[in-house]
Symmetry: D2
C-alpha cells in the first residue's frame, strides 16, 4: 500500500491584462502558503506566475477562482504512479500464468456474454485450438436498455471456471457493482472494468483493494489523461497489476459504433508503464472490422487484443453483430502470427 | 411496481442487395417466431422488412448478425414509460413541498460541496434570501484525480439537514455508490445521480427501489436517447419521481468545460413527460457564464436551474471557478423574475 | 488598410525531464534570435521557458520540433485586431442603415433559398410586417449532394434587390466562390460566409478587400479561436465590418442537426469586440426548435438572430424542415419584444 | 462526362402516432407525383411509408416538412458513381506512371511545404533512396492564422517539377483556390484537396473538369458519407481518377492533433471502389506517431500513406512537429517492406 502523495506538480498561472497588482500578490501569497516555490514572469501585457510544489496541495486549490486569474495550465500530468516518470520500465502483468506486456501480443477471445454451457464450451474449445491465451465471457452485462439481457451472474462465473479447468484458459470477466467484486474476484483471473464504469470511483477503489489483476477499459468519452487518472485510483489503493484497454471513443461518425483511437496506444505507451490492449470488436461494432483492426492493433504496437468469438452470432443474446466465427478467428490468428514475426515480436 | 414490458416496437430491417433469397426468409421466420407482424417491401435492388411486435423480445435479438442484413432501424424509441406516448400529461415532482415541473421555474442553489457549517449556512442564508426554493450541497464528490477532496460524507448530510430546518430549504445531494443510497435517502429530499454515473446501472436500479425523488443528470457523453433510457431504469423499478438535468456534453470546444446543449431542453420535452432542468454552473465551468446561461435556460423553457453559489469561491475545495457570489446570485434572481413574468411563467 | 502585425505574443515552452542541458540553450538562443525576451524557470524535474515577443515571428517557428521540447503553450490568442484587448469598445456594423450590435436585437428573416419571385415576396412581406429588420435569401447554396438544388444565382440576387426596394428590407446573401464576390457584393447589403467556408482562406481574403459588411458563420467543426482567427483574415485585409454568427457545432448527438453552442455567445463577447448573432434554424434543423432557441439567444445576450421563414415549407427546395411559417414568426416576434423589454434591451 | 443521374433511392418515412389520416395521403400523393413506387406498413401506433424512386427527385423534396412526418430514413447512400454497387471492381489510379490501388502500398513522402530548393532536393533525394514512389511538397498552404507562412506559390511548383525530373518522382501538391487549378494542374501529377476544402464545392467541381488525378482528403469534421459525396462531386463532372485520404477527425481528445479514424479504411473499402490512403503525419501531429500509424495503415489494408519528411524539422516553416527525419523514414520503409511481405502485398 503506497502513501497517497501525488509528487510534484508545476502550475503556470496566467493573469488577465487588467488584473490589479494586488491580485498577483494574493495568488503568490497563497501559493507560498501551500509550500510552492514561485517564479514571476512580468510580461508586456500580463504577468505569468510559475509554481512548483506538492501536487495534491496545489491541485486542490481553485486557482481559477482567484480575482485577476485568466487561465491555469498544469505542467505535469494529474497522475503519478502509473506514469513513466515514476517507473521507466514497462509493467508486465501475470494473469493466471499468462503474461500481458513485455513484448508479447496476447490474444483474449470468447463470447461477449456467457449464455449457456454449450455456447461457452464451443467457443472456448475453438479459441484455444486457434491459439488464444485467455478466455473472455461475461456474467454481468451493462445494457443501455433495462429490457435487454443482463447476464447469468454467478452461474456464468462457475461455467467459466469449469472452462478454464477443461481448456487451460484463464479468464477475464467484467464487474459492474462494488458489491460483486468479491464474487467476481473469487472466480476470475483478470477483472474487467467496462467503459461505462471507468469513472465509477467507488468501484475503482474496491478493485484497488483486492489482489486480482484488473483490466481498465477506456471510457468512450474519456481523454487519455482521465483514463490514466482512473488507473491511478486503482494503483494508489495498492493494486499495481493493471492492464489498459482502448475500445473506441464517441465521435460524430455513425458508420462505426465508436471510433477506435488507434493512436492512443503509442500515446499511452509514452506516458505510462502499464500494458495497453485493444478491443477491435466493441469499438467498430461490426464483424467485418475485427480482422483489419486486430492487425492494425498489432502493427501499432499494442500488447494484445480482446476479441468476441461466438459459435453462432445470430443467436447471441448480446452484441451479436460484432462477434466473429471460430473459423474466421483461426484464419485471423494465422495472419497475426505472420505479422508478429515480421515485426520481430 | 410496474411490470417490465417495453410495449410495442417496430423495426425496419434493410437487406443487402446481394442477400440470398433464403436470407430474407430466415429473418422473416425468426421475426414471426417472436410474435412480430411482418411486412415485406421488395425494392429494385434490395428488400426492406418491416416488423411490429413486443419491444423487449424484438430488441433482444441480434438482427444485424443475421446473414444478408445490412442495417436495422428501430422506429420507436428504446424507452417507454418515460415517453410522452405512454403519458401525454407532464409529470410534476414534489420535493419536500417544492414542485418541479408544471410551469414553475425552480431555482436550486448552494455550494458544490459542503465544506463546513459556516460555509454551508452562509450560502443557504443567502440563497434563501434571494429567492431559491431548494438547497444544493454535496457530501460525496466524484473526482477525476484520486488526490482531490472527496467530500465530508455523513457529516455533510447532517449539516444539510440542519440547514433545511433552519432556512426552510429542502435539499438535493449526490450519491455515488449503491451502498450509500440508504444513507443519502435518509437525509436528502432529492437524490442526484451525477453525469459520471448516468450509466451506472446498479446505482440506477437501487434508486428506483427507494421512495425519494431522483434527479438524473445527463452524462456528458450521453445521447438524449441514452439519457431517457437511463431514466427508464429508475422508472421501471417503481420510482416515478424523476427530474432530468442537462449539464453540457463533451465536444471539441475547449473554451468551456462542456458545451451546454440548450436544444436538449425542448427536444426532451417533446419526447418525455419528465421535467428537465439545466445546470449552468458545471456546463460552462466559468463564473461569468452562469447568469447568461441561466437566463437562456429560462427562455428556452427549462423547468429550473441548479446553481453553484459559494460565499468565498477562491477558498472552495471543489469547483470554485464556476461558483457565483451571493450578491451576483441575488442580482440574477431579479432578472429571472423579470424574464419569467415576460414569458408568462 | 492596417499593416499585418500580430502584436505581442507570449509562449511557455515546457521541456522534457530528460532534455539535455544544451536543448534548453538551443531553444533560448533561437527565441532571442527572433527578438523575444526570455525567462527561465528551472523546476525540480523540468525547465519551463517563458518568452515574450512579436507574435508573427514567434508563431512561425516550430518550437515543438526542437529536441527536448515537450509542450508549447501560447499565452495570448492567435488573433489580434478582432480581440477586445486591441479594441475594448464594441463594434456596431451598419447594414444598409440597420445597425447590428450596440444593444439592439436585430432579426434577419426570410427563406433559406430564393426559389421564385412569389415565394420571396410572400416571405418578405410577412417578415417585414412582423418586425424583421433585414431579409435573408440565398442565390448560391452549398449542398452536400451534387444532385440537390444549387440556387438560382444572379436571378435570385436581382429578385432580392427588388424585394429590398419594395419592402424596405436590406438583405444578406451567401457567397461560395471567390469569383462571385464581385457579383454578390454588387447587390447584397451584407455578405454571408457559410459554415462550410469558414476556413476557405482565399474567399475570406477576397471579402476583406471589398467594402460591404460580412457575416461570418462559425464552421460546425471550428473552435471559437479558429472562428476569431478566420475573422482576423478579413479584418487584416482592411474590412472591419464583420458580424459573427453561431450556428451549432458537430457533436455525437443526433436528435438535432447540430448542437447550438449557446455559451459561445458570451465567450465570444468576452474575447472580441465584434457583434455575434445566432442562427436558431440551421443549428437545430427542426421547426419546433426555432422559437425556443431564438428566445434563448436573446436571453443569453446575442446581438440578433437569422431565421428561416418560408410561406410553404413543404414545397421548399432547400431546408424545408426547419423553416417556420409567417404566422409562427409573427407570434415569436411578440415574445421577442416582451423578453427584450424585460431585459432592458 | 456522365449524366447527372443519382440512380434509385429508397426512403422510409415514419409518421407520427397522432398524424391525421390525410397527412399520410398527402405524403403518398406527393411521392407518386415524383414517380416513386409506394408501400404502406400500417403499424399499431404509426404508419410507415416506404418509397422507391429516382434519387435526385426523391432527395430534393423536404419530406420532414410535411405535416405528420416524424422521421425520414434514406435506405441507400447519397452517392452513386463512387459506390461499389455502381462499380464492384476496385479503381486503380495512375499518377505519372505510379499506380495507387490494386494491392500495392504506395508511399508518398516529402516536406509539408516547399521552402527552398535545398530543402526540397535534400528531402526528395532521401525519400527516393529509401523507396518512396511519389513526392509531396506544397506551394500553397491553408493556415489558421493569417500571419503564418502561406507558401511560395508558382516558384514552388517549378522546383517540384525540377525535382520530379531529377529524382524520377512524380509529385502531389495542394490547391486552395479555384482560380489556381489551372496553374497547379499544369505542373503537378496528382492534385490534393485538403481537409479544410473537402466541402468547397466550387473547387471540387473545378477539379472534376480537368484531367489530372485528384486526392481528396477527408474533412476533419466530415462523416464518411459526406466524404464520399464530395468525391461524387468530382466524379460526376467527368474526372474518375480519385484517391481518398483519411487524415484524422476532430474529437475531444487533445493528446493528438486529430484522431486518426483507422476504421474508416475498411469501411470506405466496403462502400466505395476508390483507393484510400492514410496521412499518419497530419492526423497525429507528432513525430513519434508517424511510424506506428504507418504500420497500422498498412496492416488495416490502406492503399498507401502520405508522410511528411523534412531534412531539418526544427527549421521547418510549416508543421515541423510532425515531420520525420530522412533516417527515420528509411528505417520505417524497411519495416513497411517486412510487414507488407507478411501480409502478401
Amino acid at each position: 500500500m503506497t502513501t497517497a502523495r501525488n509528487g510534484d506538480q508545476s502550475l503556470i498561472i496566467v493573469m488577465r491584462p487588467d488584473a490589479a497588482p494586488g491580485a498577483v500578490d494574493a495568488v503568490v501569497e497563497r501559493l507560498r502558503g501551500v509550500g510552492a516555490e514561485v517564479h514571476l514572469s512580468p510580461g508586456l501585457r500580463r504577468t505569468v506566475v510559475g509554481a512548483v510544489g506538492d501536487g495534491s496541495r496545489l491541485q486542490q486549490l481553485p486557482w481559477e477562482a482567484f480575482p485577476g486569474v485568466e487561465r491555469v495550465v498544469p505542467v505535469l500530468a494529474p497522475f503519478r504512479f502509473v506514469g513513466r516518470e515514476f517507473q521507466p520500465e514497462r509493467t508486465v502483468v501475470d494473469v493466471g500464468g499468462v503474461r500481458i506486456g513485455g513484448g508479447a501480443f496476447t490474444v483474449i477471445a470468447g463470447p461477449c456474454a456467457v449464455e449457456s454451457r454449450d455456447q461457452l464450451f464451443a467457443a472456448a474449445e475453438a479459441v484455444k485450438a486457434a491459439g488464444a491465451s485467455l478466455l473472455r465471457g461475461d456474467a454481468f452485462k451493462p445494457r443501455t436498455s433495462p429490457y435487454a439481457f443482463q447476464g447469468l451472474g454467478e452461474e456464468a462465473l462457475k461455467l467459466l471456471a469449469e472452462a478454464r479447468h477443461r481448456f487451460g484458459l484463464p479468464f477475464v470477466a467484467e464487474v459492474l457493482d462494488p458489491r460483486h467484486v468479491e464474487l467476481v474476484a473469487g472466480h476470475a483471473d483478470l477483472i474487467r472494468i467496462g467503459a461505462r464504469n471507468m469513472s465509477n470511483f467507488p468501484l475503482l477503489a474496491e478493485l484497488g483493494r483486492q489482489p486480482k489483476p484488473v483490466m481498465l477499459k477506456r471510457g468512450f468519452t474519456a481523454t487519455i489523461e482521465e483514463w490514466l487518472s482512473a488507473a491511478e485510483y486503482i494503483y494508489k489503493e495498492g493494486n499495481h497489476d493493471i492492464v489498459l484497454c482502448e475500445r473506441g471513443i464517441r465521435t460524430f461518425e455513425t458508420q462505426t459504433r465508436n471510433t477506435l483511437d488507434i493512436s492512443a496506444v503509442p500515446v499511452v505507451q509514452a506516458l505510462s508503464h502499464l500494458p495497453v490492449m485493444v478491443d477491435p470488436s466493441h469499438s467498430g461494432g461490426r464483424r467485418s472490422l475485427v480482422s483489419p483492426l486486430t492487425l492494425a492493433a498489432l502493427a501499432v504496437g499494442a500488447d494484445g487484443v480482446l476479441i468476441d468469438v461466438h459459435p453462432a452470432p445470430e443467436t447471441a443474446l448480446v452484441d451479436g453483430p460484432q462477434a466473429i466465427l471460430p473459423a474466421e478467428f483461426a484464419e485471423l490468428m494465422d495472419r497475426v502470427r505472420a505479422v508478429a514475426a515480421a515485426l520481430g515480436r
